[in-house]
Amino acid sequence: MMSDNEIRIKMAEYEIAQPPQVLVTLGLGSCIGLALYDKYTKVSGLIHFMLPESNGKTDIAKYADTGIPNLIDKMVEMGAKRRNIIAKLVGGAKMFSFGDDNSVMNIGQRNAAAAKEILQKEKIKIIAEDTGENFGRTMRFFTDTGEVKVTSYKRDDLLI
């Protein structure tokens, strides 16, 4: 159900919001939806990135290495305090298995690993995570509470 407060974020996009808005991204597979939240000012950011490394490409929100630092900067511009920002990580699934390709990390795993590395470098704590496995996820980030609801067809809704 789409409420009036919902802001949809597509692949390779990000958005900054405040209560009562709800940031929503649909159908995450190997992509990652990263919710950043300042619980004091309630300035909230969500990015739906697709790949770990930009390698000089300019589509900022498509990649973890350019998209995450940019999201933090934009939140700080909106009044968030960097030291108060916490992170919740969703997605990074491997939708298909063939049984023969376990030797290298799949894109979902690489995306999750990249996000963790960048957040550590930025000194932002990940307080919740729902990543990996083999199913798609939709996430709703409620900026009034900082809660993230993860919906999938394979499992009951999860509140993180």
């Binding site: 996009e13 490409k57 699934a93 939708m95 894109i107 996820r137 939709t138």
Partner: protein, 207 residues
Amino acid sequence: MDNTNFGLNSIQQDALKEVGNIGAGNAATSFSKILDREINIEVPSIEIIPLEDVSTITGSEEDHVAGILFKVTGEAPGTILFIFPSTTIKYLVEVVMDKQIEPEEIGEMEESLLKELGNILSGSYLKSIGDMTDLNMTQSVPGFSYDMAGAILSSTMISASSTGENVLLIETEFMDGERKIDGYFFFIPQIESLSIILNSLGFDNDE
């Protein structure tokens, strides 16, 4: 290489479309035989789509669909993906297995059926392309997912894209006269495979 059209002129794009047409035509014939009813194909299209737009090419991101995925190896490697909406799955199970199910009840039997269908269809697709181009191509075992269309499409296309920017799809839509069967077939050749396929058909890629 020009990223917007993969360096392909319109004649080359038409040649690829024809490859898709013959491949999908044969797959549709196999499909018709299995179901004992006529399955038609739309004229295939060649689409070059930015990766960030692939989630919605078959409808909404949250549509519940089955994706059957094959890795294609050999002389012109790539990826094959079938997408069947839940209404089509329900109908296929009804026709082939003589069983009424709700889409939520897709279990191992239904998964096997869809994988096997995918196997046969992609097999006849690749065989006719192989006959036409004299290129040797083999498909992997099928990967299967019954899930959100956005998750299936984005994950598949991101892995299949050679450039990380766009993906070239040879796309065909299957349907029967009564609109009970609706599905998508995507062949996503690796970028290097495009010139190999075109060369084998007598098109010089440098023209």
